[in-house]
Point group: C2
């Protein structure tokens, strides 16, 4: 179930995504939180940093730095995690993921749930609209980001 | 089958791992290659860069920068890939992975093979000895790197 805290952090993930869009990058943002506390926020850095591994979720996890544990955290992401990010969630032991939308990209929810991760999909209209615009305007960049060739 | 080229690049991955050990970090190194050509080399940056997502494989992929495709590449890693790195290999469409050893850590070979990735395990004694020494000397750092808490 989506709480008020979830809505607040998901909005920050969306804000990160929108900033990424304005920078000419892939508009996907993420927040790592421990309960009510924001640990870190990040966004896809493929274009801005020339960094193919810095998807939104990965950028947030990098910016969080070294953590003793992730078992008390929630990861928020404007877009459903790819296989890299889903693998990372499982490896790091993040127990709960709140996803802005999985209408424009998705498919790893079952992988996560099968490994005990709670996955909540918000079906957020702003997240859907932003990704839809990006995929329409920059199909080649999007294909590169998800290594579709 | 392990070719002479594989042995050469795996040795560079091991050299990266050993440099990481000497820096006080997690001794895991990696090389991305396109045929006979080295694209990038990297090593775990948890300690050196305070970066939890920079496993050896991820550091090599980051240093490779944006690639049009990975379908003609091989990823070399001194240690069997964790779930983050295995997910990344699948997401990026890397078709072939050469692993130094999976005696001290492993378990994602089946995940990779089920998704069409060729996985070759070299059972390299130097890789095994280095990781064994690291796990013995720094068990807490190793537990942190694989998020065992």
């Amino acid at each position: 179930m989506l709480t008020d805290t979830d809505r607040r952090f998901l909005r920050i993930a969306y804000d990160e995504a929108r900033e990424g869009f304005e920078e000419g990058g892939c508009p996907i943002g993420s927040v790592l939180a421990r309960g009510e506390t924001l640990v870190s926020r990040g966004r896809n850095q493929r274009v801005q940093g020339g960094d193919p591994i810095a998807h939104g979720e990965m950028d947030a996890l990098r910016k969080a730095g070294r953590q003793k544990t992730y078992r008390d955290t929630t990861l928020y992401t404007s877009l459903s995690p790819c296989m890299m990010c889903a693998g990372t969630i499982v490896q790091f032991g993040i127990p709960r993921v709140v996803v802005g939308e999985n209408a424009t990209f998705g498919g790893n929810e079952d992988f996560l749930r099968a490994r005990g991760v709670e996955v909540i999909v918000a079906d957020d209209p702003d997240c859907i609209a932003l990704m839809t615009r990006f995929i329409t305007e920059k199909p080649e960049l999007w294909a590169e980001d998800i290594a579709e060739d």
